[in-house]
Structure formats: C-alpha cells, structure tokens
Symmetry: C2
Subunit: 357 residues, 2 copies
C-alpha cells in the first residue's frame, strides 16, 4: 500500500480493549471505519466499531474473512501469534510491520536490537534455562530482575532477585519460561516518548512525558517531563532512530530511564501507549489519530502541545470516583466501557490539562 486510504475505508484492529476502542474513535473522526478482531465479545472496542469478528487468534477461517473485509490491519497489543500474522500479511498490509513485532515481542531480541543501534539498555543476560541463571547473576550482579522473554506486561512475568539466595524462587515463579536477567538501573525517573512514523518515512514525536508507576502499573504521566533541553532532544532523536531502523509505520511508545550517565532505554511498545493518553486533551492530533493517520497512509500531525497535562489512570476501584472527576474543572474523563472493576484493571483515565498561556 502506497496510496492513502480514502475516507470510508476500513481499518482492521486486532484486539478489542481500551487501546482498540480509542483507535476506533479516532478513526471515526476521520471518516474511516473499523473492524475489530478479538476472541471475547462486547469488549471496549466492539462497543464503538463498525464491525466485529469474535474468534480465536488461531481461527484461520475467521482471520481470512477478517483480512478480506478490511483495507489495512493494525493492532493494540504486540503479542500477536505468528501464525495469525502469516495469514493476515498475505492478505493486507499489516502496520507496524513484522520487524517491530519480532523485536518487541521478545525482551532479549529487543535489547540486542537496541544495543546494535548504539542505544544504552539495562545490563542483561540470556536465561534460556535454569542452568543459565548462575552465569547470568555473575555477569549482571544482584540485585536484578528475572523477566520472561515474552508475554510480560504491567509487571507480570517478573521476579526480583535481591541476593543470590532468591534465585531459585524467582526461577520457580516463571515456571520454566525462557527469560532474561536484567540488572538494576540507577535512575532518577522514567520518561517516555510517543513517536510516530508515516508510510512516507516522516517522523513526528510528542513531547516526552514523565511516568510514575505503582505495583508495576502506570499511575500517572506528567507533561512536560523533568528533562534538560539536551535530554529532551536526545529522547526524541533516539525514538526517531528506533522508528527508522524498524522501517516503522504507526505510533510507538519508548520508555526511557533518566540516569546521571544519560538516557537508558527500558522498553519499546509497537503501538499506542498508556503514557501517551495525555495527548487526547493537549494536542490537536492525539496519539490515536496519529496512529490511524500513519497506518492509513495519511500525513502525520505535528505533535504540537497546547497544554501541560497530567494523565492519571483509573485502576480498579478508582473508577468509582467518576462522578467527582467529571465535576473537576479542566479535567477530561475517559472511561473504557468495562463492566467489572477488578483489582489492577485499567478502567479509564483522566487528563488534567493546563493550557499554555
């Protein structure tokens, strides 16, 4: 696909969660239709899309019908099964592409890729099996974190090793999954850059945001982040280098640790990112529209920000505060249409904005 999609065309979205929902709403603003593929019915995205396929990711027939029904395919999560991709790629363009998925699906591959680009990551060592942990600890040192190579998110699939004696318990908790051992990074705070690359190779980044996590889950993102002007420039250039190296199309989240020695890349996510939700109320073109523009072959927005912003996630019971939050001046409430407020579940977020004057 080299021509932009016309209004009325259909974007296929793999995944029916809140990111898919907000992508679908952004597509609708641009007159584009959406077709959501997800194994579970009545998810956040299906409530707002034009068409939905409820099927498993290994249902070849459903995938083929979905591919035939859409004009381009994107996704809200990076753990797309390879076999599903094989089918879909044969039918329609998939953005972001295979290289970005391969790199971001696997913590080992990701870190190797970033190091090859000349970017700094946490020290790490492959832990292919139980026998490798001793060598890994010797190389990386304790304290460290054992992380599964694949399928980790929001702090899941991770175990801390504060001293060598914790090693066996950490290994046990990962149940034999291939892992890497990551050394600790002495950082003052975490920031993220939400970058986008268009089909024409143009790159646009939003201003970096500063992230605060609790229990492994993003709690708030504050913009502007505490960064020196040169750190800010570094952060954006670094994101652009990753986007270009992957021949990327779409929005990417790049999480960075700020250290005395410079910026350290924590991880990349080949999709719209929770730390970019602030753009909805502080930018003319937000991260969701930016992603849709990119995968549709449209020109990117410029990423300019008209307000300072603090995004706060509403997790579990937090969402019970919806009425009080809706009554706050200068606060935009975003809720995801999820019925059940389970502990740790992202139910919505608010953006508190202060216009730049």
């Amino acid at each position: 696909m080299t021509d932009p999609l016309f209004p009325g065309a259909t974007i296929g979205i793999l995944g029916g969660g809140q990111l898919g929902r907000m992508l679908a709403l952004a597509a609708a603003r641009l007159g584009l239709r959406t077709h959501v593929f997800d194994p579970v019915a009545d998810g956040p995205a299906q409530q707002v899309c034009d068409a939905a396929t409820i099927a498993a990711y290994d249902d070849a027939e459903a995938l083929a019908a979905f591919g035939a029904a859409v004009d381009v395919i994107t996704y809200e999560f990076e753990n797309i099964p390879t076999a599903a991709l094989d089918i879909l790629e044969g039918l329609r363009p998939v953005h972001p592409g295979r290289k970005a998925l391969a790199v971001s699906q696997d913590r080992l591959t990701e870190k190797q890729f970033l190091n090859q680009l000349g970017l700094v990551t946490a020290p790490f060592h492959d832990v292919a099996g139980p026998d490798d942990l001793t060598a890994a600890l010797a190389a990386v040192g304790a304290p460290a974190i054992l992380k599964t190579r694949r399928f980790g998110y929001d702090g899941k699939g991770q175990a801390r090793i504060m001293a060598d004696g914790d090693a066996q318990a950490a290994l046990d908790s990962l149940k034999g999954a291939p892992a890497i051992l990551e050394g600790f990074v002495d950082f003052s705070h975490e920031v993220s850059v939400i970058g986008a690359r268009g089909l024409d190779g143009s790159v646009a980044c939003f201003d970096p945001g500063e992230n605060l996590h609790e229990d492994g889950i993003l709690r708030t993102t504050t913009v502007p982040a505490r960064l020196t002007p040169s750190q800010r420039t570094d952060a954006v250039l670094l994101a652009a280098r990753i986007l270009n190296a992957l021949d990327y199309v779409g929005v990417m989240g790049v999480e960075l640790f700020v250290t005395k020695a410079g910026l350290v890349v924590n991880e990349i996510a080949p999709r719209v990112h929770n730390s970019g939700h602030w753009t909805q109320n502080a930018c003319t073109v937000d991260q969701f529209e930016q992603h849709i523009r990119a995968v549709a072959g449209w020109p990117l927005g410029d990423g300019a920000r008209h307000a300072d912003a603090v995004m706060e996630n509403l997790i579990g019971d937090d969402a019970d505060r919806w009425l009080a939050l809706a009554g706050e001046t200068g606060t935009a409430v975003h809720l995801y249409g999820k019925a059940e407020a389970r502990t740790g579940r992202k139910m919505g977020h608010v953006n508190r904005v202060t216009p730049l004057r």
Copy 2:
C-alpha cells in the same frame, strides 16, 4: 430521572446523521453506550454506536423496543413526530423536553415565546393561509422572507419577497404549508451561542462564534466572534434566559443577529449545533460531551476555551480536499462517513485552531 446515569448505561439517540455520530463518539469517551434510531441503515451514527434500530418514526413497536433498551433518550434533530414522542416519553426521560421541541419545531411559536421572554426577534406575521399574506406584508413590509412554520433547515422552505409582486410566487413555492412572514433585519453579522443546562439547573455557555453562511448553509464559524464585551455578556445571558425558561436539559444553539440596536434572536435549535463544532478542538469538554453530560445527569464542563478557532464546513465536493486538509498544521479534520458527496451535503468539517498563549 434525577440520579446521574452510571457508566455502562445507554443513551438512546433519535437520528443517525453526523450530529448523532459525534454525540455517540462523545458518549463513548465517557464509558456510555449509545443506541441509534433512524429509518435509514448505515448512517454516520450507526457506524460508531453500540446498537442501532432501523425503523420508521411511526413504527410504534420499534419505538417501544428502543425505549425499553435505553436509559435516557435524546435526539439530533428537532422535527421528531409528536406521536413518536408520545410513546417514548411514557417509557424513558426525553431530553431536551417537550417544551423545547414544541417551541423550536414551529417558527411562529418560537418567535412568540422569545418575545414573551422580552427578547427581540425579526418582525413577523402569521401566514396561516394564502389570504393572510397581504395583511402580513402590510404589517411587516417588503423585503421579507416567507418561511414554512415547520420542517425548515439550511435555507429550505423559504422564499424571498423583495416586492409585493413576488408574493404569489413565494406562496406557490411553499405549496400551501402554514408559514410566517419575517421582515428583514439590518444586521452586521451573525453570531451564535452554544449553551448548556444540566439536570440540576446549572448553565454553562461556550464563547460566542461568528457565523458566515453561503447559499443558506453555514460555511464557517470563527471564535472569538466580533462582539463588544457588553454584547458578549448580553449574548450569554440571553441564552441562559432561554435555557431556564424552557427548563431545558442539554445543549442548545442560539443564533443571534448583531445590529446597531442590539442582539436579535434569529432562531434556536434544541440540540448540538453546527456552529458549535469548533469546541471539539478548542475546549476540554466539547458541545457533544456537554450534551451527553447534561442528558446523563452528569456535571457540565465549564465551557472554557484554550484556543481561537475557525470551523469550516466541508460541503459536497469540499470533502475531496481531505488529504490536503489532513496535511495542514494545526488543523483537525472531521469526516462523517457519508459515502456520497451530493451538492449541499455536509460531509465533514475542519477546525483550525490557534492556541491562546
């Protein structure tokens, strides 16, 4: 209904056009579901709503099922048939209410209501039948405009009478529909106030916008409008007076002529309004979310504006410029998902914003 609707509740929307579409998108941001009722399938709103009923407005069974399936009912157009309202009001709250509809459905009732409130309108005279036109012309004088009392929009159902000799042709063009004759108002420009009133009686207005029409159709709205500080205050107070008098719940558009003698009310629309589309990219809570908040019993947004804005309608072939418009910096493109770009058809709009700094 006095309690606010909980997230997950369903807003029923009568009408599946672009206003319904943008209402549905705003409701989705707040975690509310939408169910659209319209006689025609695959309209702009149906592409983004959670459920749709395709049925005629005189289909009592479909109306009853729709009413039973939703928690509150609103609409995107004022010409709801009375019989449909009779059914729906018996089932669920309908906002804005009957009084607002009765007043705004009929140009004669509307002007009488406004005059009783002490507000200035164009001079007018009832033209119940052909025999009344002579008396009306004598009272109002030529030039004047003969308008059908009901079902007029975007300049339809109107005929100019520049001199007495035009009277018969004007009458013929209205095909015997009950009408009023309106005198010309000597105005410098038109502005509109988009006001909202909550279920608790609170009122919030957006800054007035200045409207430019071409061929009877809104072409652009520019904010801020050219108004003196006292005119601006008058405009907002006047809108609030109308909202309160109607015990109104929801967003209303109030069109005003600016004259040397003060503000003259042109007409009111009991719904979100084309001249309020600029709020989408210049306010934290836009007119669509404001309307949803009102009918759901949520607190209103404050109407604050963080940017100057020019809204331009994309009418008919204008929408062919979508790619160039998407490439403009500081411009937000909104397209309605309509397949066919007929002459005079509103296909979308753009908001060009300049942040206040």
